[in-house]
């Protein structure tokens, strides 16, 4: 059989030299007409194209010219490549004379007339068409019809697809992939081809007698080279008609069956092997997924950071914040210090006065949030420094919250921000407005402000902003509560729901801090990072925990969901840098942001940082979470396939002729019906059950009840599978197949949710996936109840509630080492649980954080169903 390997240029050459006459002429005509079409004096395409509205008796020539004219070289080339072999085949089958008669007659005009009628009468549009593609599709469908007669179906998976549909599929593919193709024109060609292939158009073929007479009279065979005579023509491409020849067709159909059956067989084999091996495949995926994560800190898998946006030019400007500005800064610090214990309104009155005396525009905004029975209310004050020559189209934000996330008074931060704003006012180079926002707290205030700025706020809780500027291009928050001088800056970058700012912003600050100011910079509370594997891994894992929890870690976090790149800068340690140094760092960063012509878009938005100058990007780390999510899906699919066949193979195996029976069962598996009602309703019910705790914890008042409530819910959830399983067993007596189906469904859901989530919040998907891995291997243990209980105990340890409680205990006992900024340092486990729950409810209500949703509606239901299966 000829195949790709046996392709040789010699044969190709001989093929080209053996092309019959009519084919040659057509190829030549297409090429010549394309060449003619190059000149611009006479519009060949307008002359020859099939334009429905211009069709009349005198322009009927268009029906014959249009296939020979092409739009451009590519069009002509592709059509030539497709047409030549098909036309050659047609000609060698029917003879040159017949081909010429057919292709200058009915085979071109019938589709053309059909097209024109359709366009003009039915669609009432006027789309000119040209090109030989109509012929290509016509010939293809003739061939397809012929194939269909011999070989009606080919098999994809379990579906039998009729072979005659292939030209239609190709027409769809062409219409979808190649722009400005006429689907209707192709369709007309295909229809005509079908008719011809089915033999309905035989009557239009010129009678053989006449052809023979012409041929004989003119001695065409002798005069024309490459002429295919009427007699030379072959019926069918196999030399003889397959239907009439016994030996040939048997041989051929044998060949074809093997060919077409191959996919079916291999699929069956794959399914068979899959049925046997899924646990190992799943386990392998989990192991690879986890191992993958631990490979990331290695030099070969992570990259050094770099500035991708050239416009930023970090650290390339002189910073002039200094000198007598320090005197002003000291005065502002006194002013701010004097306001420490004043009310929010008094503070804002004073700040508003200070802003106005600097010549800024001032706005104030009230907000009131109520979550978990607590009311968080306050008033933001903000000032807009209008760019001296700007036009309110873009703005950069400087945030100095009155209190930081931990509730500390941000005295120095605010003083620096005030002095800086006064200094910025003197420059005329700002291309963007600068907005100084002073929220009373770091958690709700910025959120209210950003929501209102983008008009996505609930006006019952958050007031409108009285004045606004342009599109926000970046935000920088200063968090400097400590009184002493500092050693370096700590960059906090996690946003809500694990979204991250553009890596260029972090790189710019790191670059300016270390390169220009000579300060250290650190991330994720890793103040002494030695850039070795262990520190890198710790740093990355801390980042993943923060990302996975999806909460706001600083005043900047609320900006990130609005695609405003934002970070918080915290001075840390004991060193020789003073507030002016911090001011110069902010100045340098603002100058860089000011340079931006475009919104930050160059660098990465999905990354894991493992050191301030080393990262992995999404392409490298994503497989890790995806593999873990895929392990659920693979088991689910395998179980689904398994449930479709007779479940008693195992029992047969135990017989004397086990091997034989096994073989037999594999050879001819008995298909069984799947009983879907119980599995579907159980999985759906449990899935919806998750909304109950979600609602309860987001609406219960926080006053002491939240902690005990959580313990009660956890205990209930531990008991729930037992009672549910008892109920199921006594009422429905689920079969083994039904248990398998239950497992399949919940694993399918889990895999689907987690793989989707991995693209949004990698860390959350990874962590939930990892904690849910034992669920892949659940199955009922009817023969070994002890094993069932042991497995159930393992699952109980990994109950979502138990995990949260034990994490709280662990975090509070390991206070020293855990500096994750979770706000659980120095409290009892009880308070920590309370705090986590409040944070969850607050995040759900204020920030739009979806971690509780994943917790209660993805992980919790899967755990419940998994435990029920184990206990079955």
């Amino acid at each position: 059989m000829p195949n790709v390997q046996s392709f040789s240029s010699l044969r190709a050459r001989s093929y080209v030299f053996r092309l019959p006459l009519f084919t040659r002429l057509m190829v030549l005509a297409i090429v010549v007409l394309w060449l003619v079409g190059i000149q611009s004096a006479w519009d060949l395409r307008k002359w020859g194209a099939l334009i429905p509205n211009e069709m009349n008796f005198f322009t009927a020539y268009r029906m014959n010219t249009f296939p020979l004219i092409h739009l451009n070289l590519l069009h002509a080339l592709l059509n030539l490549l497709a047409l030549t072999p098909l036309l050659e085949r047609f000609e060698s089958e029917y003879g040159t004379l017949t081909s010429a008669a057919m292709f200058f007659g009915p085979l071109t005009t019938i589709p053309a007339i059909a097209y024109v009628i359709l366009e003009r009468v039915i669609f009432r549009v006027n789309t000119p068409v040209m090109g030989a593609s109509m012929w290509v599709f016509l010939l293809l469908s003739v061939e397809a019809m012929r194939t269909y007669k011999i070989n009606p179906y080919f098999v994809i998976g379990t579906v039998q697809v009729p072979t005659w549909t292939t030209p239609l599929v190709m027409a769809f593919v062409t219409a979808a992939l190649i722009p400005s193709t006429s689907f209707l024109g192709h369709l007309c060609g295909i229809c005509t081809g079908y008719l011809f292939g089915l033999g309905y158009l035989k009557f239009i073929a010129p009678p053989e007698k006449i052809l023979r007479w012409i041929e004989g009279k003119l001695n065409l065979l002798g005069r024309l080279p490459h002429y295919v005579s009427v007699d030379q023509k072959t019926y069918g491409r196999f030399g003889v008609l397959p239907q009439s020849s016994n030996s040939g067709s048997a041989n051929l159909s044998g060949l074809l069956t093997t060919w077409y059956d191959q996919p079916r067989r291999s699929l069956w084999a794959a399914a068979r092997s899959c049925r046997r091996r899924p646990p190992y495949i799943s386990l392998l995926l989990i192991v690879v997924g986890v191992a993958w994560l631990f490979m990331l800190p290695l030099n070969d898998y992570s990259r050094r950071t770099y500035i991708s946006e050239n416009a930023l030019l970090p650290g390339q400007v002189h910073t002039y914040f200094g000198g007598s500005d320090q005197n002003v800064l000291r005065a502002y610090r006194h002013e701010v210090g004097a306001l420490e214990n004043k009310t929010n309104t008094e503070v804002n009155d004073k700040l508003e006065h200070m802003f106005r005396s600097m010549g800024l525009k001032v706005g104030r905004q009230n907000y009131t949030y109520t979550t978990s029975g607590n009311t968080v209310a306050g008033e933001n004050v903000y000032a807009i420094l209008q760019a001296p020559r700007g036009d309110a189209t873009e703005a950069i934000v400087l945030v100095a919250a009155w209190r930081n996330v931990k509730g500390e008074f941000n005295r120095n931060g605010l003083a620096v921000a005030l002095a800086l704003t006064r200094y910025f006012k003197r420059w005329s180079l700002w291309s963007k407005d600068i907005i100084l926002v002073v929220p009373p707290d770091s958690r709700a205030g910025t959120q209210a402000w950003v929501d209102a700025y983008h008009d996505s706020h609930d006006s019952r809780r958050v007031a409108d902003l009285p004045i606004k500027s342009g599109a926000l291009q970046g935000a920088l928050a200063i968090d400097y509560p400590q009184e002493e001088r500092f050693e370096g800056v700590h960059i906090v970058y996690d946003g809500i729901n694990g979204q991250l700012p553009n890596l260029d912003l972090i790189n710019s600050v790191t670059n300016i801090a270390s390169g220009q100011m000579g300060m250290g910079s650190s991330i994720q509370h890793m103040f002494h990072h030695n850039d070795q594997y262990r520190d890198r891994l710790t740093c990355m894992l801390r980042g993943m925990v923060n990302q996975g929890l999806g909460h706001a870690v600083g005043p900047h976090s609320s900006f990130i969901p609005y695609h405003v790149d934002a970070i918080t800068i915290q001075p840390v340690g004991q060193g020789w840098h003073d507030e002016m140094g911090l001011g110069r760092l902010v100045e340098g960063t603002f100058r860089s942001l000011n340079n931006l012509l475009e919104h930050l878009h160059q660098s990465f938005f999905f990354y894991l940082l493992m050191q301030k100058e080393r990262f992995v990007s999404i392409g490298t780390y994503l497989p890790s979470a995806m593999l873990i999510a895929a392990n659920f899906t693979i088991t689910a699919i395998a179980l689904w396939v398994k449930t479709g066949y007779a479940p008693k193979t195992k029992e047969k195996k135990e017989g004397a002729d086990a091997k034989k029976a096994d073989q037999k069962s594999e050879e001819t598996p008995a298909a069984v019906e799947r009983e879907l009602y119980l599995p579907l309703s159980l999985v759906t019910g449990c899935q919806f059950l998750g909304f109950v705790p979600l609602f309860v914890f987001n609406h219960a008042p926080a006053s002491v009840t939240l902690g005990p409530l959580f313990v009660v819910v956890t205990l209930l959830s531990l008991v729930l599978p037992h009672s549910l399983s008892f109920f199921l067993v006594t009422t429905y007596k689920p079969t083994h197949q039904q248990y398998q189906l239950i497992t399949s469904f919940f694993l399918l859901l889990l895999g689907m949710f987690l793989s989707t989530l991995a693209t949004l919040n990698f860390s959350l998907a990874f962590l939930v996936g990892l904690l849910a891995t034992p669920l892949t291997f659940v199955r009922p243990f009817p023969k070994m109840p002890a094993a069932g209980y042991a497995y159930s105990a393992l699952l109980s340890v990994l109950n979502p509630g138990v995990v949260v409680l034990s994490a709280a205990v662990a975090a509070t006992t390991l206070q020293g080492s855990s500096g994750l900024g979770l706000g659980v340092v120095g409290v009892t486990p009880w308070e920590a649980v309370q705090k986590v729950l409040e944070e969850g409810a607050f995040g759900w209500g204020v920030w739009g954080m979806y971690t509780p949703l994943i917790f209660w509606c993805v992980w919790f239901p899967a755990w419940v169903v998994g435990s029920v299966v184990v206990l079955g």
């Binding site: 196999f238 005065a331 036009d391 005329s428 983008h454 919104h599």
Partner: protein
Amino acid sequence: MQFFSFLLTVLVPFVVASAAPAADYHEQLNLKPLPQNSLLASFNFRSNTSLPEFEAHNFRFFPRSLGQILQHAGTRELHLRFSLGRWDAETWGARPWDGTKEGGTGVELWAWLEAESDDEADHKWLTLTNALSGLFCASLNFIDSTRTTRPVMSFRPEGDHPNTTMANMHLLHGVLPREVVCTENLTPFLKLLPCKGKAGVSSLLDGHKLFDASWQSMAIDVKPVCPTGEECVLQIEQTIDMVLDIERSKRPRDNPIPRPPPSHELKCNTTKPYHADDTCFPTDSLNAQEWNLNQIFGKPMLGNCPLTDPKTPPVCIQAPHSRDVFTSMGVEELKEPGNENQRCYLLPSNDEEFHLSLPFMPRDGDRPKTDADEFVQPATPLLYAERSLTGHGQEHGGVQAILTNPSPGAEVEFVYMESLPWFMRIYLHTLKARISHRTGSDAGQTLHDDDDVIKEIYYRPFLDRQRGTQLEIRMKIPPGSTVFMAYDFEKTILRYTEYPPDANRGFDVAAAVITILPSNSSTTTTARRMSNLRTTSMLLNLPTPDFSMPYNVIIFTSTCIALAFGGLYNILVRRFVGRDEGPEVSLVKLRRRLQEAVQKVKARAMERLGAAGKEAKKVEGKSD
């Protein structure tokens, strides 16, 4: 004949000058100190030429380059604006010239063209924009059909046109919000002046200071004026308005960096308890102005322009008479008796430099001065307007305009015009106007429907890639109220090639033009004239593709085609034959050929041998 007309051009000015004492060229600089350490400087240059002379290509003070363009493009009235920055109405009050001499950010052009049909008007407009583009070094040629509108309610001809031409006049309006106005536009602007920036007030104009201003607007207006009982003249008026930040302008040109001042120069509030040598709460030094003309414009004024009427004072300052102003020797100060707040200065006819300085007026001491001595309190504008984008995301957005009528007693009627790009598909049904009263018994209430506010809407919807949306709304706002007008729009996904090189920056949306209609009931002079207002422009973010994506798409598509086409084509075209029917595989063939060859050789050899044997036998036989 040629010679004669030349003579006329030379002689006529003298003749006219002697006949009519008022010269045809007039220039004036108006200085107006504003609160918060700002100074408004308005330059005004005006020259006339009579219409018959203009038709006869006798341009006199009228710039020839511009005149020829106008004649060629059949332009009857022309308004061209170059603007930068925003006018801070809250602090600076009403706009100069009632806002009629300013445009939105970037370049704005509108003109009345005389044409028989719309097509002819479009053609002339194309000629005009392209010619002006070359003349002013601005991208005016980018005003294509998508940026051109034909306003219906917003603009009225300012000149006096005879009724016969009025019928054939077409108003076309185009804006380029993204155009950055810079020195390259100032140079051709100055070249149009008779004194070309070499003498007179125009000698103060310097790109460094002009474009460092907080707000600036350059305007050119050409219109026919027919004073009653006199011959009609064609008037060109060139205006430059700028608001200078005095502190910033005073910085020397060779050291423009705002370094922190030495600490002893810092003005501190000494009453603070913590005040010390190293701690200083800055006082509100914003109000005390101290400057002179040389400092803030960077160069001195070089006498009078000799072509102006010597009776017109070239420099005026609008400040209370209690403000100390010092000038150079020989300058005559003119104070109008009726106007308490204006002083003008007549310069001696020699070419000496003119100096003007406003000294520091101490706020304490024997005779403390106040703000009222420093500057005239700016007039409240008739309307405050602010416009911003709302919403977020890549698909939908909204625009909100906040329009406030500050007047306690008079209602204000105006036309609000937006010309939006076609890729901002606005939904007119979402247009809502909400009114909120700031004063009176129902303060803060939002009661009214938009019916009470919106009187009339003219809307011309966009066509994709052909023209933008034109929206004109006539509104009436009752006294002391604010109207929030909002509408939604959808963002279009553009074609790959339609994005500009800096695609992620966003697209600029031109400023909305607000034309305040003259009110009949009001008695004040400002309200009786037409006045204008423009909002800031906006930056619209459209969904932007990752531009490396097409590469990926090409690869993906090629793979798809290769798989789908190749596979199917292979199945359809492949020739299946039985093994014995097909050609033999080459190696077997080779072997058979070899075998055949070997056999042939063998056979021949055998033949030979056989023959030889026979012969031998024969020989043997013979020998026998």
